[in-house]
Symmetry: C2
Subunit: 149 residues, 2 copies
């Protein structure tokens, strides 16, 4: 069990929620996945951990996690969105289009850009959402060493 998972479980308890087998399974699946998980990805993973988990509970647990700010929806360019555990602070996602691994990064110094846009448009910008797509180092190597075509 990694730190993030531990932290999420603690937060759940701190808000008066019971740490049931089902919730542990859902959180564990999220915590150990390198990619954001849609409900359809998450459900079978949670069942691998605890085969009694029902689909409805996955929906409800995700809803709970998101409402407490412990998980967040990630928009994906292809299907609509998946969920990851929220890391504290402001982060963005970099998504590998081949293996779908997602890493988070922070320090998106958009400040100058946002200021310029604000001046040009007259908007008072209060939030931004940036998501990058690309090929991770591993997948680049894989396609380099593999014969083209």
């Amino acid at each position: 069990m990694n730190d993030q998972e531990q932290a999420v479980l603690s937060e759940l308890r701190a808000h008066g929620n019971k740490l049931t087998q089902a919730r542990r399974a859902v959180v564990h699946a999220l915590a150990t996945s390198p990619v954001p998980l849609s409900i359809n990805d998450l459900y079978p993973l949670a069942r691998e951990i605890n085969e009694d988990v029902g689909l409805v509970t996955v929906y409800r647990t995700l809803e709970l996690l998101v409402s407490l700010g412990l998980a967040r929806p990630v928009h994906l360019m292809d299907n609509c969105h998946g969920y990851t555990l929220a890391t504290p602070g402001h982060t963005h996602h970099l998504h590998c289009r081949q293996c779908h691994r997602v890493i988070e990064f922070d320090g998106c110094d958009l400040g100058p850009l946002l200021e310029r846009i604000a001046q040009q448009t007259g908007y008072h910008i209060t939030g931004h959402w940036l998501e990058l797509e690309g090929l991770c180092a591993r997948c680049q190597q894989a396609s380099d060493t593999r014969p083209a075509g």
Copy 2:
């Protein structure tokens, strides 16, 4: 009828599609809306233009437009996505959290940021998706002149 609408209709014809009343209504609604429209927004707007338009036709027309690259889905932070006519080139959206007006902007010089991220992560970055949220000039004024609270 604005240029964009004209262009979309021409493209439709060029691909051998008939310019029916229903399609004209859907395209007109999209072309004249400052915000991306979800199906649920689009349907009543299309019906204002032509009350015979059916919901199914709205779905099918959007599908057609997207498949021809004439419209594109826009992810929104709250509900999942709406559609706008595609403007050529690479644009981003700036969304007013109060009136939901959306304006497009280009010239998102993310180049330096993307390079830095690429170096830090080893990713080869192939695409990005940036969405800003804020208050448009009009809504700022409205809340300035309105008594606080």
